[in-house]
Symmetry: D2
């Protein structure tokens, strides 16, 4: 059984200026990032603009990513959709493409009806239908709902459900889940802003937007932590908080893509309604990255 | 230019037991409901499980609905998606099918980036691309975000954007929009729970889940209001509040579909993760409908 | 039994520059406002900075208000506190001062424990202890919690509890309460932004910050409504929305006090941490008042 | 200058059955708890029912607490009120009683007006007026508002403001504050549910409801952490999460007081509207305490 640990960047999906897929650029990013001690990659998470892509484009993206992701690194594929049938359909596409696990965002449009019964029913049906393990994805800032520890533990009882990416940042909830979940179930921090606190609470790694642009620092926090170098880990953690906020909560995917362009990867355009960040924000962001010690990839690559 | 007024039921999408589309049943519902003085129908709103359908199914549903909707009634088609390009794509399908207007739910996944600039950009691009008028759809309970009067007025400045369905229920906001929007722009109540207050504030009608099962009463409130029979209107309004809450906020689409089955229309199954309401809830709901004076369609039809 | 109807301004408490009470100025305001067909006055509501005053100052304010409020007008006294014992203590002070009813804001600090049992227990204890009727005050924007229709109906079952001021603006909830509450129980709109919608839903009046500066217009909406002049009422309602937002949600008590100064009443200083509005806001506010047709009191007084 | 570190229990205020103060019982609790390596005590925090007490009772409680708190332990006194003047008045009472520092909950009733300017103005005025250091208290679950890192850093610039108790649990925010605040400024976790994550982020201790009933375990987490025994610390942290939730968010002060009675301290009655927990909850709570390894004080005292 797959045991999740380490750092995974949630790859942005690359587009041409026309907004059509530009998979070669995503593949280039993967190749550059693969030089870092990352555990693998997430394709089509929130930073991959999953909700922006057609069904066909999603399948094409899974395949393109797998081609570039080395066998030594895991490929996690985001396959969540509002309906169980569509989620299963996408999961089967991800399996065909060679993903190692799928990550399933919870349905959230019918918030009033999303309770233990409907959500466990959903995830268990996906778990039954999937030939590869399933990871739960809790992302309150985007879905507008926060799955409780009780709901997550109910979902986690299924044998094919192996972990949770939690972007909510409620550390007590994370601890409650880690304490009570079955053996082998792993929790991954969903944001670099609380990576170190999550590790000390028992999380085994993180799926972090910031790992696309600061892979060395993100992996460094895990390494320092494992070696008991808490002061060094804390220092790195502190340094990353503002940069993480900038490319997530504050300015989002457009800022992450700009940062990638700025640092020597391919970020490229976002899909509308998202808009590129403006000149002033670009300048602020460049300053924040510098302050965080996040430099261009020529430098970082000598890891 | 199309001017919106009157009552529109947001039709549930009908499924077989296998969850595949059952368009004939939706067409039967349309035929039965067309006997009432409804202004038209909304296809693929929240009650139409829009987020559950594939692109193909959406197109098929537009076509099936138009076949059954009489030329004397308007067909509004829900075409909102997270990306502008997908929204435009669906809008073109709705035009092909013969819709009279499209209703566009706002993108809401990237909440942090959804501001005046991105949202006006989105709606204006759709307005430009659409051969038929566009209606804004604000649905905070499902999207987890509530577009402000300022954002809505910015969107509404586009000549091809003709109205708003507001399910938020903030009457002061509704009044502010009605006061300041361009001539001809119309606001429709998004829930039967506040239909009469919306009318007195200047709304011209409503798109109401409840109009699927209580069309006579919903139309009656508008009629009473227009004739100045406020006591009668208030009485009807009071009577509908609990039934409306039951089939929307409280138990949602599964309850609406059960109520339709219960009253002689076709409700049928929901798509998972939604689940049918249980026995106990069915009983409660039947009582609530009775208390609201909502009876089977044999009776109502002699309107 | 007292039956609530009509318009009540929630009087600001007046201070000297030193922030000490300046009751003579509140009395002057009362005298000027008493020329309008207001039903009465609320002393120590949210606009009365109730949470800013010491116990002694509250008692003094009740007494000063009663001296100035004509016998023909009702005096409602805000006596809500976090503890039941303090609420009862203040209620007895209000009775001594000659208030006609007390208005009790719900305790809200221990939000997690505020449920039907604790809240009904609280209000019923106050109802038992009070020689004058009790009005429930629901104010979600300030308390951070919104009492449900179910909780309010439970509280309202007590014979000495005669009404509700609801500032939440959920019209469906208001309708549900009006439909189910005992005979004689009255609901008052808590904000001028939704006065007319509340009236059409069955509310009998309002306790409105705006009634301090636009008493004629607020009373006019009720009058127009009662005479079936809905277009005139709607027009007045539309006109007041922006001005109401400005002196409540947007800029709050400091703006209301500035507006009073600006229009020929006494607003005066606020208590810290509140700060006077700045120059720019003053200018904006003056424009908004003008746009709303809210003029100086020399004009308005010839009602 | 005082530097905050270690664990502080926020003492419940003790009442007779009549709800009148029973300071002797609080003093007994202090004496029992003083045997543990606690850094000191907080008097009149949220668990001290601060909002339930009259001004006189607050002063009396400060004095009673100081009599019992050994000179070797710090006394922090909660003095927050909605007005700046009342906060200063209570702060002076706390100084007279011999408190070592005051902890000031932010005003929150006029949420719409509580911004950097008003809040920094408030805290700086208190800082100026106070002869002893001031600690900021951010408690979103009770106040209904969450002060941002930016606001807190603005407040923290004042030389007499030495720390923050943050009960919000946003670890990234905590890290941002710790990174940017002046030298000597200390952050304390406001809840035992995230004590260890807060420590790893740079917090120097905690003010924890749970420290009233599990002082050994709370102090043990800090000790283990300082000695680099992270596995032991994590184990203790996991064990305490459910018990902490039970006596805070879930069942609140009534549960904390029952737990104290249950474990050999004096909890006693709460003030209404709070109600004692019922039989069933008592049984559940006893089970949760047992599961957390929280035993009676005869055992724990041999620390």
């Amino acid at each position: 059984m797959l045991t999740l640990h380490g750092i995974f960047p949630p790859l942005p999906t690359c587009f041409h200026g026309s907004e059509s897929l530009f998979p070669e650029k995503m593949q280039e990013n993967i190749r550059i990032l693969s030089a870092f001690p990352l555990a693998g990659f997430l394709v089509l998470g929130s930073n991959g603009e999953l909700v922006m892509l057609s069904e066909k484009e999603k399948a094409a993206t899974y395949h393109a990513a797998r081609e570039a992701i080395p066998a030594s690194k895991l490929m996690l594929a985001g396959t969540g959709a509002e309906s169980t049938r569509e989620t299963i359909h996408l999961t089967k596409e991800a399996v065909k493409a060679g993903a190692d696990a799928v990550m399933v965002l919870n349905p959230a449009y019918y918030k009033g009806q999303m309770n233990t019964e409907t959500l466990a029913g959903h995830y268990h049906a996906v778990g039954d239908a999937s030939e590869i393990p399933v990871i739960i994805y809790n992302m309150p800032a985007n879905t507008g709902m926060d799955m409780s520890a009780e709901i997550i533990l109910n979902i986690a009882a299924h044998p094919n459900i192996i972990g949770l990416k939690d972007s909510g940042g409620n550390l007590a909830k994370m601890g409650a889940i880690i304490r009570s979940a079955k053996k082998g179930f792993r929790v991954l921090a969903g944001s670099a802003g609380f990576l170190l606190p999550a590790l000390v609470m028992g999380a085994s790694g993180g799926i972090l937007a910031l790992a696309n642009i600061a892979p060395a620092q993100c992996c460094g926090i895990v390494e320092d932590f494992q070696q008991g170098a808490l002061d060094k880990a804390q220092n790195k953690q502190h340094q990353l908080i503002a940069a993480n906020a900038a490319v997530t909560r504050q300015w989002g995917v457009p800022a992450l893509k700009y940062a990638m362009d700025h640092l020597g990867l391919y970020g490229g355009p976002v899909r509308k309604p998202l808009l590129p960040i403006n000149k002033e924000t670009k300048k602020s962001l460049a300053g924040i990255l510098k302050d965080a010690g996040i430099g261009p990839f020529e430098t970082n690559i000598i890891f």
